[in-house]
């Protein structure tokens, strides 16, 4: 028997009337549906929310940069790999923004009455650059593939070290996101480390590019280990991690990669903040605004949008 198909609709033609196996048209779903988001004892909702936003913004902005490689990487396998890494980070960001919204709803930007946009999307698409708390390492342009690998190596080594400690957080959501993230980022760090080694020990040109890329991003390294007031607060109440406590471990791991690659640790001065402010305070470079414009333009044009 031939199934009746409405030939007026392209979609019906594709589906044969059964839309159950298709991913479009699914409504927004709360990524923390049924998860216990009660605040742990002795933790201020605002501090926890700001901390979640910091970790979420690192992942969101890095994810946006990595996804720019889609269809532009040296070959199809690297296209797929970088898109996969971007997707893992986007997923971490979504959970962390949802956790932030539950911890302090007053931080979620107000949208028109009746807007179906969920809190984590409101945070991603309707905050200004000054409200983003990501470290500046993740916001600059990708540069070439060598520079992208150098940045991914530093970023994933740092974030994996943070998340290994964050797994012990007294906040059940943060702890769960960290345990999951460790598993995912193990693949990210290995990917970046292997490419770093391959490029550094490849041709003169590949070595020149990866070493040049490392030198380019190195001034933003120090900021990764500077403790922000919010990070001190959450570390004291054992729901978060003081990034200064992972500096030695990250150095040892990077040294392993550098020595096998025959690369010296760059000797360049850290990029200063402005009046003592850096990424964690909402102080960003010009590239960040352009990145946000592209990330946010569609959502901002449709504040009542349903995707």
């Amino acid at each position: 028997m031939v199934e009746e198909v409405d030939h007026e609709s392209v979609y019906d033609g594709l589906l044969g009337g059964d839309d159950s196996q298709w991913a479009f048209g699914t409504d927004f779903e709360d990524p923390l549906a049924g998860v216990d988001t009660t605040l742990p004892d002795g933790v201020e909702g605002r501090a926890l929310a700001l901390y979640c936003i910091m970790l979420a913004d690192d992942a969101l902005v890095m994810s946006q940069r990595l996804s720019e490689w889609c269809s532009n990487a040296p070959d199809l396998e690297e296209d797929i790999a970088l898109a996969n890494i971007a997707l893992d980070l986007l997923g971490q960001s979504r959970l962390l923004l949802a956790r932030a919204a539950a911890a302090d709803p007053s931080l979620v930007p107000a949208l028109p009455e009746g807007s179906p946009i969920p809190a984590e999307d409101a945070l991603a698409y309707f905050r200004s650059d000054r409200e983003f708390r990501n470290v500046r390492l993740v916001e600059g342009p990708n540069g070439d593939f060598g520079q992208t690998i150098a940045r991914l190596l530093l970023f994933s080594t740092w974030r994996l070290a943070l998340f290994e400690k964050l797994a012990a957080s007294r906040d059940k959501v943060l702890s769960a996101v960290a345990v999951k993230g460790v598993k995912e980022m193990t693949y990210h760090r290995d990917y970046a480390g292997r490419w770093f080694l391959t490029l550094a020990r490849g041709t003169d040109e590949s070595r020149r590019r990866v070493v040049g890329g490392l030198t380019e991003i190195w001034p933003l390294r120090a900021e990764l280990f500077a403790t922000h007031e919010v990070e001190s607060l959450v570390a004291e109440s054992t729901v978060g991690v003081d990034p200064a406590t992972v500096a030695d471990e990250v150095d040892v791991l990077l040294e392993q990669v550098f020595s096998l690659s025959g690369v010296e640790r760059p000797d360049v001065a850290p990029l200063a903040g402005v009046r003592g402010e850096t990424g964690r305070d909402g102080l960003h470079t010009e590239a960040h605004s352009r990145l946000l414009a592209e990330l946010q333009v569609v959502a901002r044009a449709h504040p009542m949008g349903q995707w």
Partner: protein, 169 residues
Amino acid sequence: MGSPVSVLDRARGLAASVTDPEMPMLTLEDLGVLRDVEVDGARVVVTITPTYSGCPAMATMRDDLVHRLHDHGFDDVAVKVSLDPAWSSDWITERGRQALADHGLSAPGPAPSLEGPVALTLIPRRRSLACPRCGSSEVELTSEFGPTACKALYRCTSCLEPFEHVKEI
């Protein structure tokens, strides 16, 4: 709808029959994503655990669970997320592994231990795999990342066919 036990069994059976949108040879039960099914009065509560943080199939899985239960008379269905413990490829059942192999996909080996610091491995881990088409163990890794978050890409150097391997995580 009969005694409470049979209602629960029916709801469980229905939820367990829903398949993964990206690997339809696997049910959500065989993938290890379906964690619990409870019946509370007229309401069915299904608990699932995401495979990867950014898994885009989660929303579809929820919709499919709700639709399947609605279609069989359960009007009030809630789908909850459980993040702890995190999903592990070890949760894929034996039946699931067989279904993967039957469809030309290579099933994961044991997931890495979560004890102690995570080792940096600059030389790709060697998995002892067999080509799902010809059975040869002469295979090589093309990429640790594949068409979905959970798969790596391999190539068989005997029959020269590419295949996908579900990653250990």
